[in-house]
Amino acid sequence: MIGYLCSLVILVFAACIAQQFVPVFMSLYEARILILPLVFLCSAVTVNAGPMLLLAFICGFLWDAQHLLGPPGGHPQVYTEPVEMMMFGYSIVLYAAMGFLMQGIQPLFREGKWPVSAALSGVAIFLYLTAEFLLITFVRGDFMVTRGVVMKITLSSLLSMLLSPLVFWVLFKLAALFRHTIRYEGLKTNRRVYTG
């Protein structure tokens, strides 16, 4: 388990580096493939709650370190209503919430139904981006949902979801390498049937 968890932490750092190489699709409403969230979501379904929280903390920390904006600057007499900035660490909460969502379908995943998890990773990214946008809206005010925002969230989720089989393939390889059991095929046949 420890070996597998360490490999997941390394995989998360590798995903963070890989994210730098992924271009933004400017013509598709600036949609992007979110490798780091995807790796986290796929990993979350293969581990228990404790390791998932550790991964959520690392991913959220790295995400905020990369994306958070600094203070707006300028003299307060002139810039009387500066735009509110997000607090460092908010992504950790969002990652943990999405991680728990993925853990909800862990029994299906352990039965070998990984395509359900792959589809849910897309849904989770959609929810993650929506939650992030709503949080920004809540902090800054002026609620507005444009077609551009909806398209950006949807396309980013779909593009990221397409990569999830590849991430699951890597996870299965790592699990085999470290002899960690993430799939119990036995559950398929040993399920109890209650006849009343």
């Binding site: 013509s27 904006l69 810039y79 920004i136 551009g148």
Partner: protein, 275 residues
Amino acid sequence: MKPLNLVALLLFVGGLVWALTLSERSVREIQSMYYATISKFQRGGSEVESTARAFLKEVEHSRDLEMRLDAIEQEFGKLRALEPRLRQLEIENNELLAALDFKERTQFKVTAARVIKRQPATWWSSVTIDRGRDADIAPHLPVLASGGLAGKVDLVGPNTSTVILLTDESCQVSVQVAGTAEVGILSGQRGQYGEAPLLRLRYLTKDAQIRPGMKVITTGRGGLFHPNILVGTVEAFEPGAFDGEAFVKPSVDFQNLSIVFVTSKTDQEQKETPE
């Protein structure tokens, strides 16, 4: 709940509280360390992105090239006929510029930088440039581009920096509508993707005499931007109950931003202070 999970949850909450209560300075230090580590990969990523973009562009435009060549040849013929008139206008323009002391007012010490990554963050309108602390870049320095003001420096790494663009709502600029006494705060608008962005100019008087096509320039107030930098042109004006609001088309082409100019620290220090 299993005891191990409870311990994990408590540790997570502890870590979360620590992260959420970090001071601004600590956050900046963490981000600086992060960017120092990741900048090598950002440059690598930039090369991949540039190659991919160049390839796509070439494929996209190869069919149009022949048609364009014909059109250009026709245009060339027309332009040759206009050349003597243009020369005369150029002389007149130089004389007028000298009279306005234009050069004196717009001469900034600048550092040229290449945009190495577009829109690195999901929700902020920003770019990453290939100049950082090593080139004397500092936070909040104004960034210019062909056409006018492009934004300001946000985060500075050893050899890369993040520039928050004018199209982001957090980049506020004190501006004036040229030829009027109207001053206001200009910023980008949230949720503008896949379209030509319009900037929002707020706090104008409700009965301001503002017409589409009027130029918008920086006032220099507020300690962030130099005065008299072109920002854009007014597209529309909407009077409200208490104040007016205008929508401004930026003078910089943000879709094709590739080279920017960061003004120097000394220029920043000499800027006008708030009144």
